[in-house]
């Protein structure tokens, strides 16, 4: 739990730092005209919303991983999980999807429509490949219920991969929506934000997966 407390404290610290940076030392009762600060932080609401959401998901996975660590050290009957080899391939696919999303975002920003199309398709295919690979990893572990009941490490593997996969599915829904507009001939300038946010989200999910994978491998 102390790890989680540190992560959450950091997140709160960032929020506090932001607030401090926004002149928490002002003396508002002195009625000097202050310049309006609408949009003063220069970020769109959708991007702020995404960052707040990623903070929530960070807290979620930090708590899951803290629980993993505590169950390992404080519970009884822990058997270490041998992570299936296919998880390495899945990691490569998710990293590829993340790179493809970045390339798509860059192509959309620079108005290169054909390249953007290729990159978006690649990102989608690699992401779906990652999810399929996770299902294959479950099958590589063995009969589900038997092992889930018998080994908390395997139960954690299922829970963590499912929760992570659901977040990726949510991202795929948004990406699909952007791709649909793209295929419908929407102007690239209108898609710029959506694709850019998707890229940020994909990088984030890659980082989360790397943290989960690292804990499963080495803790």
């Amino acid at each position: 739990m102390s790890n989680t407390a540190i992560v959450v404290a950091l997140l709160v610290g960032v929020a506090v730092w932001f607030a401090v940076a926004s002149r928490l030392t002002a003396k508002p009762w002195e009625n000097r005209e202050q310049k309006g600060d609408v949009g003063a932080i220069g970020i769109s609401p959708a991007r702020i919303g995404l960052w707040v959401f990623m903070a929530v998901v960070t807290s979620l996975f930090a708590l899951f991983l803290s629980a993993y660590s505590m169950r390992m050290h404080h519970g009884v009957g822990w058997c270490h999980l041998t992570v299936p080899r296919i998880a390495w391939l899945n990691t490569v696919m998710l990293a590829g999807a993340s790179i493809a999303m970045q390339l798509a975002s860059s192509a959309v920003a620079h108005g290169r429509r054909p390249f953007a199309q290729t990159a978006l398709v690649a990102a989608g295919v690699l992401s779906i490949g990652f999810l399929a690979g996770q299902v294959a990893a479950w099958q590589a572990i063995g009969p589900t219920l038997y092992y889930v009941q018998g080994s908390p490490a395997i139960a954690f593997f299922y829970v963590l991969t499912i929760v992570h996969g659901l977040h990726l599915l949510g991202g795929l829904y948004v990406l699909g929506s952007a791709a649909h507009r793209f295929a419908g001939g929407a102007e690239l300038v209108d898609l710029r934000q959506s694709v850019s946010l998707c890229a940020t989200y994909w990088h984030f999910l890659l980082l989360v997966w790397l943290a989960v994978f690292g804990v499963l491998l080495y803790l």
């Binding site: 607030a19 928490l24 002002a26 600060d37 609401p45 919303g49 708590l63 169950r71 519970g75 009941q149």
Partner: protein, 589 residues
């Protein structure tokens, strides 16, 4: 869509055309706020009835056979969970947060109105799933609101089958709803404030709701994680929390799980939850006191910093709920220290409230009565918190009525007094009508004195050693007969307080039709929500042009000013032209 909230606009936003779009599937933050409030108050009334049934059993044991031991535990569990999560959290953030943030910040709506609407309907689904557990075989869970394993999922505990599963699923759904709402509240505060509304000009109500939302967004995942893992323990037979155990003559197939892990996760959510409820109450009560004392809030900056400090510290005190769990004694020392530290910013707020009242032009109307009542109950609950925050004092008092008295005072009665005060304060803006002041005052005195009659004796019972969570005390040597007499008296007081809610409901409902028409700013308040062109505000709140803010939210009784308040929209250099002149720019400190 997002930028609609901060744009000047001639046409109304969302463009609702039909009754359903306007009042049911509405994206208007005010309608969503009222929807949240109605559902939260309804489910809160259910919890109130449950508490009355519990009190009947405790005050007059075995007289009401309907309340058998199983039902007693089910009532306890549902009462606690509903009051904390589905009433207080939902009402403060979903209700007041939705209504006040855009209006007080000068926005047309939340920045993500569609997601805001979905948030409410998902919340409603969570409530329906929760209440459905009353109608499934075995009934709702009776595990206690903390849902501690292993007993929560073991046979023998009421509702150990479907009841506990529905509770956990409902909590999961609630957290999804809260996250959608929370993203809106945070983003709207950061990005949709009108011109001139700097962070340090925001009313403290918005600050409290803003920080509480951040706490909720970071703390609710802990409950989500524990709900998922306990659901799997209960359904698939995993052993995250469940140790090897013999239960009811059988041996469940669990082994090696850690019940203590659940306690850590639960309280990592549970303690910030106290402040998720308290911070909005702090903010709102600050605004009520300042407005109705006609005085600027004392130490505004310190109040903001205290809110931030309390928010940060609330994540490092959770294990003071677990002193008797057998954890490492050094942990107890650490958490007792942090618990005492968090009392510092909290005490600063209390001092500032009292100093705001000092030499103020106090109007003892209904919202003010509730706000002052809050100071009493909160100080009371805070002081008993000092007892329980210290390990050596907590140990003998743990699991006694002292604890029940403490937490009801600090996070039951206190926030509810603020809820009532806030409803009475903003009712004229929300409905366009005034209410009966006389009925409001009767409601206040019955509630305030009644809750003292309930919870003050509980501290005494706790010191005597009366244990909490017992269905019946029976005849025990260490308990004098007076304990039973006191219990009966507490029950009578509880029934009176519960009955007083009917006066409140009657007043609110009848005033919708028969109440005197409210003026746009009946309290002569400075904040933006009272400066809307229409009362109640229409879709889009502000007409074609957004307001522009020129000053902070607390310009009351400014020396030299014509009136005893200057709205935030009045320019500094236009004070003479508008009649809001004052001799100097700097308000008295």
């Amino acid at each position: 869509m997002a930028y609609v909230a901060i744009a000047d606009r001639d046409a109304p936003i969302h463009d609702p055309h039909t009754f359903i779009e306007k009042y049911i599937w509405s994206q208007d933050h005010k309608v969503i706020a009222i929807q949240y409030a109605i559902v939260a108050i309804f489910v809160g009334l259910v919890a109130l009835v449950l508490s009355a049934l519990m009190r009947l059993q405790l005050g007059f044991p075995d007289q009401f056979h309907f309340v058998d031991p199983n039902r007693y535990y089910q009532f306890i569990t549902m009462h606690g969970m509903i009051m904390v999560i589905y009433l207080l959290t939902a009402l403060f953030l979903g209700g007041f947060g939705n209504y006040l943030i855009p209006l007080m910040c000068g926005a047309r709506d939340m920045v993500f109105p569609y997601m805001n609407m979905v948030s409410f309907w998902v919340y409603l689904l969570a409530v329906i799933v929760l209440l459905a557990s009353f109608f499934v075989p075995g009934g709702p869970t009776g595990a206690g609101w903390t849902l501690y394993p292993p007993q929560a999922v073991l046979p023998g505990t009421p509702g150990a089958g479907l009841g506990i599963i529905l509770m956990l699923v409902s909590l999961g759904i609630f957290i999804v709803a809260f996250t959608m709402g929370g993203l809106n509240y945070v983003t709207t505060v950061l990005q949709a404030r009108c011109r001139g509304m700097t962070l340090m000009r925001m009313p403290l109500s918005v600050w409290g709701i803003f920080m509480a939302t951040i706490l909720g967004l970071l703390a609710f995942p802990a409950l989500f994680v524990s709900a998922i893992m306990m659901t799997l323990d209960g359904t698939l037979g995993t052993s995250f929390f469940m140790p090897a155990i013999n239960s009811m003559g059988g041996t469940p197939e669990h082994a090696g799980g850690s019940p203590l892990l659940f306690q850590h996760l639960f309280w990592f959510f549970g303690h910030p939850e106290v402040y998720i409820v308290a911070l909005p109450a702090f903010g709102i009560v600050s605004d009520l006191l300042s407005t109705h004392a006609r005085k600027n809030i004392f130490g505004y900056r310190m109040m903001v910093w205290a809110i931030l400090a309390i928010g940060g510290l609330s994540f490092v005190v959770w294990a003071h709920h677990m002193y008797v769990s057998g954890m490492n004694p050094y942990f107890g020392f650490f958490f007792a220290t942090t618990t005492l530290i968090i009392a510092v910013p909290t005490a600063i707020k209390v001092y500032n409230w009292v100093l705001t009242l000092w030499k103020g032009d106090i109007h003892l109307n209904v919202p003010m009565l509730f706000a002052i009542g809050f100071i009493f109950t909160f100080v009371h609950g805070g002081l008993t918190g000092l007892f329980l925050g210290n390990v050596t004092v907590d140990l003998p008092l743990s699991d006694t009525y002292f604890v029940v008295g403490h937490f009801h005072m600090v996070m039951g009665v206190s926030p509810i007094l603020v809820v009532f005060g806030a409803i009475y304060h903003w009712y004229p803006k929300i409905t366009g009508r005034m209410y009966s002041e006389r009925l409001g005052k009767i409601h206040f005195w019955l509630t305030f004195l009644g809750t003292y009659a309930i919870y003050l004796p509980m501290h005494y019972l706790g010191i005597l050693g009366v244990p909490r969570r017992y269905y019946a005390l029976g005849d025990t040597e260490f308990l004098p007969q007076s304990v039973h007499t006191i219990n009966a008296a507490i029950t009578i007081a509880a029934l009176v307080v519960a009955g007083s809610v009917l006066i409140f409901l009657y007043n609110m409902i009848v005033s919708l039709w028969k109440g005197e028409k409210a003026s746009p700013n009946p309290w002569k308040s400075t904040t933006l929500e009272w400066q809307t062109p229409d009362t109640p505000p229409h879709h889009g709140n502000w007409g074609p042009r957004l307001p522009v803010v020129h000053r902070w939210a607390y310009d009351y009784s400014v020396p030299g000013a014509a009136d005893d308040f200057i709205p935030q929209t009045v320019p500094v250099d236009a004070r003479n032209a508008t009649g809001f002149g004052h001799g100097e720019d700097k308000a008295p400190r």
